[in-house]
Structures are given as structure tokens and as C-alpha cells.
Amino acid sequence: MSLAQVVERKVERIAATGNHAAAYATREVDIDVAAIYPITPQVQIAEKIAEMVANGELDAEIIPVESEHSAMSAVVAASAVGARAFTATSSQGLELMHEILYIASSLRQPVVMALATRALSAPINIWNDYGDVISMRDTGWIILFSETVQEVYDNIIQAYRIAEHPDVLLPVAVTLDGYILSHTIEPLELVTREEALKFAFKRPRGYRPVLDPDDPITIGPLAAPNWYYEIKRQQIEAIRNAGRVVREVGREYGKIFGRTYDLLEPYMIDDAKIVIISLGATASLVKAAVNRLRKQGEKVGMVKIRLYRPFPAEDLIKVIEDVDAVGVLDRAVVYGSPTEGPLFNDIAVTLATRGIHKLLVSFVHGLGGRDIFVNDVIAMYKKIKRFAEEGRSPEKTVFFGVKGEEV
């Protein structure tokens, strides 16, 4: 499709919150089953889906479950029948689902879930951080982070195409920063249902093993030590290969709708000496900080990680191989780790296993919804620069913005 054709597409632009954008995306891809359960801050996704079903905009079966554990169980089961299934959650709801998160990926069911990120209890806190999504890091799900309301919408449409790809067959989680995206109204370009279904097309039932009376199979059996390991090895291979599909799908999406997606997004990287790496909506702040620093003549760039799992190690190496120092912003912690930033740890391992030495700084910020501003990112940049001038990486994570701790 040429650029002219892209421009010719009649595009409906509306204003929407991230939560509503997530719900609209499920309408565009014509989901069959949604399990809904209220939790802040994703609850408007559930409300909007219920509303769309009630007024006939969306032909789906809603299962108003009695818990998130049942929500995840029900969508995995619905997917095993061949239905396009969806659910959404946050924080404690995700934690209640946890047991079934592993089962969803291990049974290779292409479920899609929106996750309005929120801090974990205790103390109970309804505001944004990535404690919840990081807790599902190792569950075998594909995880896509969104930076804007538009990305939430685009990611969910792409998520079905990725999840249902015969080489993948894995569940996909799409994040939207709690409140920062879930409740913030931004411009949203809609895709029509016809376009969305042409892109994220529904494959015929039976292209993958499903619960079908004409071809009965047993899903979720007992596997003893003589088989378990091989089954897991296949699953490891599936998520490893998913990155290729995520890239292909993101490119094709760009060709049709004019917004191309990759596994990560570098910005002002070409001559950068220092690069700041972040996830989700935080990346917008980092971009603004980079713009301001560039005006002051600083050689700084940034990388936004879009595909968090499987981690795009090769892509990252390509974009940061020429920089001197890397600062990583984490909005979550892994307690008791040598360094407490989870994204930082992935990057450190990526570099170390390839024998690449860089000056690395791990920052944790914004836990429990504590705001950070462009000036804070600039302060972090200055800190990285100071370490770079001294020529040493700090051994410990810097907890930025904690009362009583100077940076």
C-alpha cells in the first residue's frame, strides 16, 4: 500500500481514555468472549465492554465472573474452544490470576489481556507503577507496553494477530499505565471493524487444536518426568520466536494504518553518548527531557522498550552499541536482587552475556504513583553523566525521589 493510499483512508478521530481505547479495540477485532471483573484502575474497560454488548455494538458473551482467578480461567477455557477471548485487570487482580497465567501460556491459548498497571499491596495503593506487570514477567506471556492511548488501541488489535499466529500461540498482555493512560483523554484514531478484521483476521476454527466434538482431544493432562521437560522446551521456543512475529505484525500495521511499530523505539540515538531506557508512559517524559537536553547541547538519546517479553536483546544491542553510558528507569522493584530494577537487570545480562562493557546506572522511580517530571529525568541524566565522568558504574540501584535520600 502506498503512502497516498494511507492518506486516502477515511479516519475517524475521537477523544478517548486509555481504558475506553482498550474496550474499542476489542470491538474492532470482534471478540467472542469477555470475562469482566471490577478493579481500579481498569474498571472502565469492563464497563465499556458491558455497555457495547448491551447496545449491540459488540456481539460477545460476557462472563461477569466472581473473581479474577475465574476471569483468567474462563478466558483460557473459552480460547480452548476456539473463541477470541479477552479480559482486563490491574494489580491485586493480576496477582489473584497468577496461577492461571502460567497455565494460559503453557496450554498455548492466545488470550489477550489489558493490564492497567498499578502498584501492589501492601500498603494498598491504586496508583501507577509496574509492580504488577513485572510480577507476570516470567509467566510465559508476551508483554507489550504502551506509551499513549493510541498505542493501547493499536497494541490490542495487533495482540490478537500475534497471539493467534500459528508459530506463536501464546497469550499477550498489553499494558496501559494506571491513570496516566487509563484515565487520560487523548486523541485516538479509530480503525474500522472491517479494516481491523482484515488485519487481525479470524482464522478458521480448527487451525489449532481446540475442544471439538468431531476431533476430541485432552487438554491439560498430567505429564510425568518423561514428557514435561520436552513440553516446556517447545514453549520456550515459541516465546523466543514471538519477537519475529511481533516485528512483522507491527510493520504490516504501519503499512495499512500509517503507524509502524517495532520491538523498541530509539530516539535521538545516532550520536548519543548517554542513553536512557524506559518502559510505557514514562518514555514520553524521557523524550521531553531528551529534547530539552539536546537544546542545551547534550549528546543524549533514549530507547523505549515496547516488547518487554520476549526481551528484544539483539535489537537493543544494535541501538546502544556505540553509546558510552546507559541509564535505566524502572518503575518497579525486584526485592533482594543484586540491583533492584527489573528492566535494568535484563539489560545488564544482555550486555554481559555478549561481553559488552558499558557504564550502567539503575534508577527506580515513581513507586505507588509518585509523579516524576521532566526535570527529574534531567536530574537523572546529570547523575549518569557524573558517573560517566568518574568512569565508574554504581554498584547499587539509585532510588530516585524517596524522601530523605539525595540524588
Binding site: 467472542d32 468472549v33 470475562a35 456481539d59 460477545a60 458473551e61 462472563i63 461477569p64 465472573v65 466472581e66 473473581s67 482467578h69 475465574s70 476471569a71 480461567s73 474462563a74 478466558v75 483460557v76 477455557a77 473459552a78 480460547s79 480452548a80 474452544v81 476456539g82 473463541a83 477471548a85 496461577e99 492461571i100 497455565i103 496450554l107 476454527r205 475442544l211 471439538d212 466434538p213 476430541p216 482431544i217 485432552t218 487438554i219 491439560g220 493432562p221 498430567l222 505429564a223 510425568a224 514428557w227 513440553i231
Partner: protein
């Protein structure tokens, strides 16, 4: 779908076996008998959702299976939620003409007492309240047998299990069995029954009705466990029959809230006949047995009052 005519005598029970042999269930396993007869009333157009437990691990050891129907297992506490998801998907896909609507595919959920009375109670309640068209079968062997005989809320008063051992201060389970039937009844579902493997015609007829009902149904099946109850393999049916003959277990059917007793017992046997045949009760003293007899008497009185007749008679030696 299913079996169209009522099961009145033994030869009305379908000959077809949809539960394949070669599984690894114990000799004399009550749950195995339950599964074999349950599978007989299903036709091809049935999807089974099963919870973790004895039956699940003994019938699906990869790469073999005993199930000739589509079958799915996720975990322990979510059988009803899994069945809900299957049913909702069938509804949506039938409406969208992806699945032929005329097939009327039925969903059968199967779980043990631990997976139903205890850890799966919330998910069961949700499924019943939402009115999913699912037949739910609980095979009750009165303890966590898959992990090696630990008490559940379905374990009866006084029974030995590995977590209600016989010590100097505590002797067996101090609490009575949970009443799952009343809990199901509180959800106002169209069909509820208790069944017992010693009465196969009654049991299969109840399976048939629960399967045919449009909406949620629950069948609670008495399924003795030979190692767990410390009974001889050849005593499974004997113990199951004595449970009914002593009034410990009453064969109930509740259609749209209206209860009736399907196997009447005009003259009850004393409960000691039931208890003394099982090793799990061997520690009971005569006075303990009299306590249990009183509990059974009260239960029988409650049932008779509820069904409005003396369906279960007095103890006659």
C-alpha cells in the same frame, strides 16, 4: 443429545463406553464407577471440564487419555469457571454460526469434594449464580485422596484422615460434613441430586436428567475410596449401600426446589453396620457410635420433614 428415554432398569443403561479402560485408578475405586456411568449418558457432543484430583491424574497421563470426549483441565479450584468459559464460548460461536447451533453441545464439569466443597466453592457459586448451562458432578470420597487422605469439609464427623489423626487429645474429625446440597439449593438452580454407586439405575437416571436440564445442575455422588476409607476393594459397593440403608446418605432429587427421596428406606439399619466395616472409623467407641447415630437421626428427621413424608424410616434391628 444424550440418552432420550428414562433409565428405569439396569438394561436401560447405555452399553456404549465413552470412558476408556486402561486408566490407573485403584481396584474398587468408587470414582471410577462414577465416571464410567457418567460417561455413558454423554453423547459425542459433550465437552468435559475437570478439576485437579484423583480422576484427573489417573485418566490423563500424557500421552494417553481415558476420555473419548473433548476434555480440559486447568487447575484445582476453578472447574466451574473453566466450564463457564467453555459454555460461554460455545454460546458465542453458535450465535456467530461458527459452530452448528443444532448440535447443542453440553458442558459437563467434574470435580472432587476438595475441589468443590473447599477450594472450588467460590467458582461453583459463581457458575450457578450466572446460570451457565453446565452439569456439575462432584465425586465425593470425603477427603483429599489424591494427596493422600487429608480431611476436607466433606469428611464426616469422627473420621480418621492423616490431618485428623487419632491421638490422645483429638480423635478424628471434630466437625460434621458440609451440606453442599443446601448450598446449591440456595442458588435456585433447576436440578440438584444426590447419587450413589450402589444404586446405578437411580444414579444414571439422575445423570441423564441433570444432563438434559437447560441450565445449571449439580449431582453429588457418593464415591467410596478404598485406601482412604481403609476398606477392602470388594467392599466398595457394600459400604455405599450401607450408607443409604443406615440413612447416613439419602438419595435426593430436587427439581425446581421441590425435593423428593428417590430410594426410600422404610427400615433403617443402625449406623454401626456402616462404621464398623471401615478402617477410618475403627477408633470409635460404642459411645462415639451412639453420638453419630443421634446425628444421623437428626439428619433423617430433617430430610423427612423437608420432603413431607417418612421417606427414611426408624432404625429397626
Amino acid at each position: 443429545m444424550g440418552v432420550n428415554k428414562p433409565i428405569k432398569v439396569l438394561w436401560d443403561i447405555p452399553r456404549e463406553e465413552r470412558f476408556a479402560p486402561g486408566h490407573s485408578m485403584c481396584q474398587g475405586c468408587g470414582a471410577a464407577i462414577t465416571m464410567r456411568h457418567l460417561a455413558k449418558i454423554m453423547d459425542k457432543n459433550t465437552i468435559i471440564a475437570m478439576g485437579t484430583g484423583c480422576v484427573e491424574v489417573t485418566t490423563t497421563l500424557f500421552p494417553r487419555t481415558s476420555w473419548r470426549n473433548p476434555w480440559i483441565h486447568l487447575a484445582f479450584e476453578n472447574t466451574a469457571a473453566v466450564a463457564s468459559g467453555v459454555e460461554a464460548a460455545l454460546k458465542a460461536l453458535s450465535r456467530k454460526k461458527i459452530i452448528d447451533d443444532s448440535r447443542r453441545i453440553k458442558v459437563v464439569a467434574i470435580a472432587g469434594d476438595g475441589g468443590t466443597f473447599d477450594i472450588g466453592l467460590q467458582s461453583l457459586s459463581g457458575m450457578l449464580e450466572r446460570r451457565h448451562n453446565v452439569m456439575y458432578v462432584v465425586y465425593d470420597n470425603e477427603a483429599y485422596m489424591n494427596t493422600g487422605i487429608q480431611r476436607s469439609s466433606a469428611t464426616p464427623y469422627g473420621a480418621w484422615t492423616t490431618t485428623t489423626p487419632i491421638g490422645t487429645k483429638l480423635r478424628g474429625k471434630p466437625q460434621p460434613k458440609k451440606d453442599i446440597i443446601t448450598i446449591a439449593l440456595a442458588h435456585g438452580i433447576p436440578y440438584i441430586a444426590t447419587a450413589n454407586i450402589a444404586y446405578p439405575v437411580d444414579m444414571v437416571e439422575k445423570f441423564r436428567k441433570a444432563y438434559e436440564v437447560d441450565g445449571p445442575s449439580l449431582v453429588h455422588v457418593y464415591s467410596p475410596c478404598t485406601p482412604g476409607w481403609r476398606i477392602r476393594n470388594e467392599h466398595t459397593i457394600e459400604v455405599a449401600r450401607l450408607a443409604v440403608q443406615t440413612g447416613v446418605w439419602v438419595q435426593l432429587e430436587i427439581i425446581e426446589g421441590e425435593p423428593r427421596v428417590t430410594i426410600k428406606v422404610p427400615r433403617r439399619k443402625h449406623v454401626r453396620h456402616y462404621l464398623r466395616i471401615q478402617g477410618r472409623f475403627r477408633h470409635l467407641t460404642d459411645s462415639d457410635i451412639e453420638t453419630i447415630q443421634k446425628m444421623v437421626d437428626e439428619y433423617v428427621e430433617k430430610i423427612n420433614k423437608w420432603v413431607g413424608e417418612e421417606a427414611i424410616g426408624p432404625v429397626v434391628e
